[in-house]
């Protein structure tokens, strides 16, 4: 990681949606960095804003959504001159994003392969389409490349498969096709929005391995959006924990899993299903996420936080750097030097010790 090259830099991103006469502040000041060849994960429960963040990167926010402020700087090398170019996606026009970025430099793998392929178009056409559209690749060449892509994503007899329609393939195979489509224009960044949630458990691991293999081979960067910490542990280098449109804790995978600091991260880790916990019931974080149509005063997590301080009710905590690390940051007043010292729950400690022993994390 000595020569880390930054590809994507999100700074203070704010996104809101208009629903009726209300304004939903879905993303509140998100900062995010993605380096070449690395994998980051964005973790959080439903509605925390993980998908919205990535849709903003692709410029495919729903019509009622708008970016209020912030920047999404994307850096790439020009194809011919090799010159380094940085552009703010927020400031680009829709036409520019569509022709330059979307599909071409940043591609996306969607959650449900059963619904994300066009049912009336052969998979061959669907894979060939982006390269023919963006690069003007000839039909013959596109066909060859599509066959090669299908082979790469592990589909047997790819040439015959080209003529198939999506309904003739199984879920796992369809997701491979979706990945092939995403790779068709040789993107620099691959966004995987819950890529395994809709799949069979046995297929999940295979798809994750496939994405990892491709990443290694092609040197692309991957953003995983997921609520499944199991997936995160397997694939990510860096983790961003999101809550109510804000990143509340970020750090290297080891830091998040072995040394979590934010009570919300504690909750998430405790809520992971496990074969040998002593409790009969699965732990859940009490309460539910806040209503984002209302102005949030203080820390959005405070009402659900057993360890909330008085200041949490008044002021939103800034990002505190964790001592001894320049990657681990936490947005919680508990990290303030003057805050009382709070230890994570005993049961979680036990669980983490067990994970450490078993080496549950990929690294």
């Amino acid at each position: 990681m000595s020569q880390r090259e930054k590809i994507l830099e999100i700074r203070d991103l704010n996104i809101s949606f208009k629903t009726g006469n209300k304004n939903v502040k879905a993303i509140r000041g998100v900062n995010l960095d993605l380096y070449k060849g690395e994998t980051i994960a964005i973790v959080g429960e439903s509605g925390s804003g993980k998908s919205v963040t990535t849709k903003a990167i692709m410029g495919i926010l729903a019509k009622n959504g708008s970016i209020d402020s912030g920047s999404i700087n994307y850096t790439w090398h020009d194809e011919k001159t090799g010159e380094k170019i940085t552009k703010d996606i927020v400031k680009m026009s829709e036409k520019e994003i569509q022709t330059e970025i979307r599909g071409r430099k940043i591609a996306m793998v969607f959650q449900d392969p059963m619904t994300s392929l066009n049912p009336t178009m052969t998979i061959g056409k669907q894979i060939m389409e982006p390269m023919m559209y963006h690069y003007g690749t000839s039909k013959e060449e596109a066909f060859k490349k599509a066959v090669k892509l299908l082979e790469e994503v592990g589909i047997t007899d790819p040439e015959a498969r080209m003529k198939n329609y999506p309904h003739q393939l199984s879920g796992g195979m369809r997701q491979r096709v979706v990945i092939a489509i995403a790779l068709s224009c040789d993107p620099y960044v691959l966004i995987c929005d819950e890529p395994t949630t809709a799949l069979d458990v046995t297929i999940q691991a295979k798809i994750l391995e496939l994405i990892q293999d491709i990443q290694k081979k092609k040197g692309i960067s991957v953003i995983y959006i997921t609520h499944d910490l199991g997936v995160v542990a397997k694939v990510a280098d860096f983790v961003n924990v999101m809550y109510a449109g804000k990143i509340v804790e970020k750090g290297l995978i080891d830091e998040i899993f072995y040394d979590p600091r934010h009570p919300y991260t504690w909750g998430l880790l405790s809520a992971m299903p496990d074969l040998d916990t002593d409790d009969d019931e699965l732990y859940t974080i009490p309460g539910s996420p806040p209503n984002l149509t209302q102005e949030i005063v203080g820390d959005a997590f405070a009402p659900r936080n057993l360890y909330a301080l008085n200041i949490d009710k008044r002021l939103d905590p800034p990002m505190f750097k964790v001592e001894g690390s320049n990657t681990h940051e936490v947005a919680s007043w508990l990290m303030h030097p003057k805050a009382p010292h709070v230890e994570m729950p005993e049961s979680l400690k036990k669980r983490i010790n067990k994970m450490k022993k078993e080496g549950a994390i990929n690294a």
């Binding site: 959650q111 994300s116 049912p119 389409e129 559209y133 963006h134 329609y165």
Partner: protein
């Protein structure tokens, strides 16, 4: 076309033949049990009646009549007219009239479907804006107002008041005199197709595969024409069946209003006159067209949608 498709079509054809036979039987019995006879002129004496009935074979028992009718029908002979067009060949008579009805139906369907689809697509693409509202109003009016009311309105406005088009059918200007009835008939087609297309288009536009297509970096035009339209328009074919059937009954009344010598007018006249053979032939033609249309729609649906085309067990 592969084997399974041919087998399917064969099966459907067989079922169609059986259905037609049943319809024919019921029709035959119904006409014979209708009150009155074709020959109810007071001038006819009972003896004369007997002679006439014997001439047309109406004195024989009903099963024998039916058998004879079937035998002749298979040879393409639908008998002769008893009253309306004395002794004229019914199949010629009906075919000649059917041409006009057919023309009306087809024109109204084509015109209505094209306009309806355009309207529905425009409405879906401009959801909740002025075009969408206009389309909704047209749809509601078209669905709720029967075609004969439109026919009356059109005849009064454009025929009587403005004198832009003839109020009744004229042999020497068949096209201009067909405009009003075709327009009247196509209103319900426009309305139904527009409503349906709009719904389908909106659901397609909101689908995951459209998001994926968008994420590929395609422009809006490609997205709509290459990815959305086909998926949105396939289901529209399914409602064309019921629409066509609706039109067939619609033509009957509209023909009356626009005084057009079509099949509908003939059927109504023949029922009033108890002209059995014409009633039979007209009704049979309606039934036949209905079944054929359904068959064509089912087959074309299979040709357009790959999920149906390939059927089960394909891998």
């Amino acid at each position: 076309m592969d084997k399974s498709m041919l087998k399917y079509i064969g099966k459907r054809l067989l079922i169609s033949v059986v259905t037609l036979f049943v319809i024919l039987t019921v029709l035959f019995l119904m006409t014979r049990f209708m009150p009155g006879t074709p020959f109810n002129s007071e001038k006819l004496s009972p003896e004369q009646l007997k002679v006439i009935e014997a001439k047309y074979g109406l004195d024989k028992p009903i099963p024998v009549q039916f058998f004879n009718y079937l035998k002749n029908m298979l040879k393409g002979d639908f008998g002769v007219s008893y009253v309306l067009y004395k002794d004229q060949n019914v199949s010629e008579l009906v075919m000649q009239r059917a041409k006009l009805s057919f023309l009306y139906g087809i024109s109204a369907t084509i015109f209505g479907t094209i306009i309806g689809m355009l309207l529905g697509i425009v409405a879906a693409l401009n959801r909740n804006k002025i075009w969408d509202n206009i389309a909704t109003v047209i749809s509601v009016l078209g669905v709720s107002i029967p075609s004969f009311v439109f026919a009356l309105l059109l005849v009064i406005i454009f025929g009587v008041n403005l004198e832009w088009a003839p109020v009744m059918f004229m042999e020497d200007s068949p096209i201009s005199s067909s405009i009003l009835p075709v327009l009247a008939l196509s209103m319900s087609v426009i309305a139904n197709v527009a409503r349906f297309t709009r719904t389908e288009m909106i659901s397609v536009l909101g689908s995951e595969y459209m998001t994926l297509a968008q994420a590929k970096g395609l422009d809006r035009r490609t997205l709509i024409f290459k990815h959305a339209l086909r998926n949105a328009l396939i289901p529209v074919i399914t409602i064309l069946g019921p629409i066509l059937v609706n039109l067939m009954t619609g033509t009957m009344v509209v023909e009356q209003i626009c005084v057009a010598p079509g099949l509908g007018t003939l059927l109504i006249q023949s029922i009033q006159a108890n002209d059995y053979n014409i009633v039979m032939a007209c009704s049979f033609l309606y039934a036949f067209m209905y079944i054929i249309m359904m068959l064509i729609i089912d087959i074309s649906y299979g040709l357009i949608d790959p999920r149906i085309r390939l059927g089960k067990g394909d891998n």
